[in-house]
């Protein structure tokens, strides 16, 4: 080594004005890609879980002796997976050529639209899942000498509608209505649980970028 490290350093930075600080507004490319990639990855995981469950459910339900309910749940899951797949494909249509801020803002808008649509869909989807669950429980209870039979023996005067306990029908109806009414809240809770972290990251990144927009074109 000819020169000392001090000399190399000094000569290398002889003219500090040649050091160019990056422009702040252009700096979020990588970060925004990370956030969106993470979101896509989570959507994909969700999709795979739904597909796996749609295969497992009929098998599991078959062994419980309630194959039809298993098939219904599987069908519903497949429909949900198909819809999620379509939504995921639509994120690719967003303009990636725009600035990071514009891109992330359009992702945020896309997300809001998707969630709004989903909130409408889950109003019917959740009650359906609930009905399948109730029907599964009822079918397993209603076997010879099962729970339903025991209850019938214990309370022989309970009202039956078409061989179904009135009380069970009321519970089912109230539950279904409850699912319909609270579907939005349940969906939001569900989302927070699964995607809360990445949604917060998206929001905070956009907020940071908005904050930095004030420093535009300063760093040259």
């Amino acid at each position: 080594m000819k020169n000392s490290i001090e000399a190399i350093w000094k000569e290398g930075f002889l003219n500090e004005s040649t050091l160019v600080a990056p422009r702040i507004n252009d700096l979020y490319n990588q970060k925004s890609m990370h956030v969106v990639d993470r979101m896509k990855r989570m959507f994909r995981i969700n999709l795979v879980v739904m597909l796996v469950m749609s295969v497992i459910f009929p098998v599991m339900y078959y062994f419980l002796g309630v194959l039809w309910q298993g098939l219904a749940a599987s069908l519903l899951l497949l429909a949900t997976a198909w819809y999620t797949r379509r939504q995921m494909a639509s994120i690719g249509t967003l303009d990636q050529g725009a600035t990071s801020f514009d891109y992330l803002s359009s992702v945020d808008r896309w997300l809001k639209e998707v969630l709004l649509k989903n909130e409408k869909i889950v109003r019917f989807l959740y009650p359906l899942y609930f009905l399948i669950a109730i029907s599964t429980i009822w079918s397993t209870f209603n076997r010879p000498r099962g729970v339903a039979w025991s209850l019938q023996q214990k309370y022989p005067h309970s009202i039956l509608v078409d061989n179904l306990s009135m009380l069970a029908l009321i519970v089912g109806a109230v539950g279904t209505l409850g699912m319909f009414y609270f579907s939005r809240k349940i969906y939001r809770f569900d989302l927070r649980l699964m995607f809360g972290g990445v949604f917060r990251k998206l929001k905070s990144t956009i907020a940071e970028m908005e904050e930095l927009r004030g420093a535009n074109s300063l760093t040259r």
Partner: protein, 164 residues
């Protein structure tokens, strides 16, 4: 971030911030990301500054903490492409200052040091007094000189092995 804050409180230290960020990154994208994060964290922490040290010390301390945090995060995510045995591509930053070959070689050698040693040597090369280096790194000034000598020896060895 207001224009004034950037102009008055960050821009005067931009040169050393660039030099620090370069020591922890091996691509232009990473370098810009680190610099961005440093500016943002300096801005965010401006109200925590209690004037117990110089503003410049505060800025350097934050910049080093940010670089170390980001580097650790990247290492966890497996996004570091070079190991201590393989030197990364050197000429990455779009700065004419970084066109100097010996300087790029020096940077490549610096990147082979431990995270703290990188900070130490850059502050030393920037001719910061030992006490200020100690303040920035949160250590005592006593062993700084000894440590710097060791780092310099190591850098010389790396550069001799790799480039001569």
């Amino acid at each position: 971030m207001s224009n004034d804050f950037y102009q008055l409180s960050i821009l005067p230290y931009a040169a050393i911030l660039i030099k620090i960020c370069r020591a922890y990154t091996s691509s232009q994208e990473d370098f810009e990301d680190y610099y961005q994060e440093v500016c943002l964290q300096v801005y965010r922490s401006r109200e925590s500054f209690r004037e117990q040290c110089k503003w410049s010390t505060w800025v350097y301390r934050i910049s080093l903490n940010v670089c170390l945090t980001l580097l650790k995060k990247k290492q966890r995510n497996g996004q570091i492409y070079f190991t201590s045995d393989v030197l990364p591509e050197t000429s990455s930053a779009q700065n004419s200052a970084f066109e100097s070959e010996p300087l790029n070689q020096l940077y490549a050698a610096i990147r082979r040091l431990s995270e703290v040693d990188r900070a130490l040597i850059i502050l030393y090369l920037e001719e910061k007094p030992y006490q200020e280096i100690a303040d920035i790194l949160g250590t005592s000034a006593n062993n700084i000189a000894v440590r710097i000598n060791r780092i310099k020896e190591r850098l010389k060895k790396i550069m001799d092995e790799k480039f001569n």
